[in-house]
């Protein structure tokens, strides 16, 4: 049996990861239990302890908090149960993680920057970033974005992009809405917003619509959740570097099977994003 405890199942991204671990796992002969930690590290610890009692063959986590989860991972290590992480890493000293599977967030951030540059055209202009600095994955996205912007600026001194504001959009619609409103107050001439996920991008869109600036400001999101894809189809979001949670689920099970066969497992697998634009949305069979 494989025990899986994911950050939260409220977010469809994790739901897809969980479902794919279940599907791929059953093909390899594993029962899979997927639990939601509801972003509560104490709850996640209890779930891991339950997995240890159940003597699962492997534990898959997306840690709620990489520091506080250390003791139970060590407990699993002592019990000889291999631990894998998906999406969110745990790189703390003293814990043994067999493999980490995640999106190439930094590469995705660069992809988002290129989309933004393309959308703003020759003139460049001011952009705002809606961040979620608590999450390592989002820090990497913003790092990739700002690096690619800086590189563009040195190559094209004429059409520079300037990151005018980096605000905490909370990774959620309501927080993203407020942060985008504040950014518009401080910088009325903003031309682009990069949001680190779809919910905050949609929050920003709502703020732009309210301010009557929806047609003047370009939004680039991240994730490719159904609601985000729909918004891209309707032209509300310019583009998303999309993640492939289904691939993550599959890769996790492959890593578990490989390890169990005694084959070498790479400690980290990064799954590249791909840019999803309006043309892709028009051709997407999942969107009616």
């Amino acid at each position: 049996m494989i025990g899986v405890s994911l950050l939260t199942l409220d977010n469809p991204f994790f739901k897809v990861i969980g479902n794919n671990i279940v599907r791929e796992g059953s093909m390899s002969g594993y029962d899979v239990t997927v639990l939601s930690a509801d972003k509560d590290v104490a709850k996640q610890s209890n779930q891991v302890k339950d997995f240890i009692v159940k003597r699962v063959a492997a534990i898959v986590l997306s840690p709620c908090e990489s520091k506080s989860i250390v003791p139970v991972i060590q407990e699993a290590n002592r019990a000889g149960i291999p631990v894998f992480t998906v999406d969110i890493p745990c790189n703390e000293p003293g814990v043994k993680i067999v493999a980490q599977i995640a999106t190439d967030n930094e590469g995705g951030g660069k992809m988002a920057a290129r989309a933004m540059i393309e959308a703003l055209g020759k003139g460049g202009g001011k952009v705002a970033i809606l961040h979620f600095p608590q999450a390592e994955s989002c820090r990497l996205r913003v790092k990739g974005f700002t690096e690619a912007v800086a590189q563009h600026n040195t190559q094209n001194p004429g059409g520079q992009l300037r990151v005018a504001a980096v605000l905490d959009g909370g990774g959620a619609k309501d927080m993203g809405y407020r942060a985008a409103e504040d950014a518009l107050q401080a910088h009325p001439d903003i031309r682009g917003i990069f949001a680190i996920n779809d919910p905050s991008a949609l929050g920003a869109r709502a703020a732009l619509e309210k301010a009557g600036k929806a047609s003047q400001v370009v939004i680039v999101g991240f994730d490719g959740q159904p609601e985000g894809k729909q918004a891209i189809k309707e032209g509300k979001i310019y583009a998303d570097p999309i993640q492939f949670p289904e691939k993550m689920g599959v890769e996790i099970v492959r890593a578990i099977v490989k390890r169990s066969k005694g084959e070498p497992v790479p400690p980290q697998t990064l799954i590249p994003t791909s840019l999803y634009k309006r043309e892709d949305a028009m051709a997407d069979p999942d969107l009616r």
Binding site: L9, S28, D31, T33, V34, L35, S36, K39, D40, V41, A42, S45, N46, Q47, K49, D50, V53, K54, R55, A57, C64, E65, K67, S68, V70, P71, R78, A79, G80, P82, Q134, V257, R259, S260, K261, G262, E263, P264
Partner: protein
């Protein structure tokens, strides 16, 4: 005889939830009944017998164990038992190591008759298609300990886990029970858990020497955290008694204040620079295998039970909740009593926070979210009336365990997470309803 009947009825109405809890335990024991395999030395004895019986003189045996206590015990015992009777090779480690050993056998052309595995190593995918990976070893037989049936729920480890998992909520619920018996409510306890965890961890980091902190330093830091929460409780109590602000509003405000302060103190991050020995309270087990947090919980319940049933203060607490005016008119200093319960609730929430910080070896402002609601649920499931005046300490403990058993049982049964919330909510409602119906029957 009628007296006996009345006594039984009274017991039922006080501790009827105990039967619900026992019923749940029985149900979970039946449905989690599963195949178990012996581990460690017992597994080794079993396999040694089988190998001696089924394989002729000096079979060649590969013992595969993980590098982990119970598997190592298995490997050592089996090597001893077969010494002289078989050609032995022992692999201790991961599937990779076993694969290498098999590769050496296959390459060297040495015969291999038996691969002796523990429950876990025997289920490695490496052995399921052994013939495909190593045609030369296709004749080797993989042996695993034989299964027997026993409920996952009833394993000692699992029962101790349940007790340990609920200890924080159960400790906080001691204070909550008293508050609710006075007719009040304390919504700040969840945030106080976070506040205490952060204060204790931050003091250890900044004042007691971080990872080199001494036990005394850690104890003082924890004490300071508990007292700080007691201070918050005192403040709430004063607002409630001096200015007659409803407890719901006061403690709702303090819930936000305490949570905010915890975030400020921790800088939004978790504080983890504490010594390894800090986990003693939350994860140690000094008394006959009973976790220390559980011992602490039991002591608190015993103490609180004595306080509520055997002292004047206990009687006043009931009296205040039963009828505030009547209590005041009969000379009870009601404000002192109410002040006491909020301070006590704050102190215990702080203690719960220290236990949680110890369990997780760090303090984070995210701890304790929703715990006020679980705590209130434990108190109410335990038979305490939200309108005050009625309730039993051990009832609350049973309520807390009921919640823990349901959560644990559903995890063991792989109930889908969203469904777990629905079930837990319904069971809480059902338990309370059952209690009401029984009370009516008793009356």
């Amino acid at each position: 005889m009628p007296r006996l009947h009345r006594a039984a009825a009274a017991f039922l109405s006080d501790y009827g939830m105990l039967f619900v809890l026992l019923l749940l335990c029985v149900v979970f024991s039946v449905v989690t009944n599963a195949e178990q395999r012996p581990t460690g030395a017992a597994a080794a004895d079993q396999l040694a017998k089988q190998i001696r019986r089924e394989f002729g003189a000096r079979p060649s045996v590969l013992i595969v164990a993980r590098d982990q206590a119970e598997d190592l015990a298995f490997a050592d015992r089996l090597s001893q038992a077969l010494a002289g009777a078989a050609d032995l090779l022992v692999v201790k480690g991961e599937p990779v190591d076993a694969r290498q050993a098999l590769g050496r056998f296959a390459a060297g052309g040495d015969p291999l008759d038996v691969i002796a595995c523990t429950e876990v190593t025997g289920s490695w995918a490496l052995f399921s298609d052994l013939g495909a990976a190593f045609p030369a070893l296709a004749k080797a037989r993989v042996l695993q300990p034989h299964p027997y049936r026993w409920p996952n729920f009833l394993k000692t480890e699992n029962l101790l886990n349940i007790a340990n998992q609920i200890s924080v909520i159960a400790i906080v619920a001691v204070g909550m029970t008293m508050v609710i018996i006075t007719g009040g409510i304390d919504l700040s306890v969840g945030s106080l858990i976070a506040l205490a965890a952060v204060i204790a961890a931050a003091l250890i980091r900044d004042a007691a020497g971080g990872v080199q902190a001494s036990p005394a330093g850690m104890a003082l830091a924890s004490l300071a955290a508990v007292l700080a929460c007691g201070g918050v409780g005192l403040f709430s109590g004063l607002m409630i008694t001096l200015f007659s602000v409803p407890p719901f509003i006061v403690t709702l405000g303090m819930m936000m204040v305490a949570s905010g302060v915890a975030y400020i103190l921790a800088g939004g991050q978790s504080v983890y620079q504490v010594p390894d020995s800090f986990v003693w309270l939350g994860r140690g087990a000094d008394l006959g295998g009973l976790p220390n947090a559980v011992v602490l919980m039991l002591l608190l319940y015993a103490g609180a039970h004595l306080l509520m049933s055997g002292t004047r203060l206990g009687r006043y607490i009931y009296a205040v909740g039963d009828n505030l005016r009547a209590a005041r008119l009969s000379g009870v200093r009601v404000n002192m009593v109410r002040l006491f319960v909020y301070v006590w609730s704050g102190l215990l929430a702080g203690l719960g926070g220290v236990v949680m910080a110890s369990q997780l070896k760090s303090g984070s402002p995210t701890y304790g979210a929703m715990y006020e609601l679980y705590t209130i649920a434990a108190v109410v499931v335990g038979g305490t009336s939200l309108s005050g005046g009625k309730g039993k300490m051990f009832g609350t403990m049973i309520g807390a365990f009921t919640i823990a058993v349901i959560q644990n049982g559903m995890n063991l049964l792989n109930v889908e997470p969203f469904m777990q919330k629905v079930v837990l909510g319904l069971v809480i409602l059902g338990a309370v309803l059952l209690d009401r119906l029984r009370n009516r029957a008793v009356e």
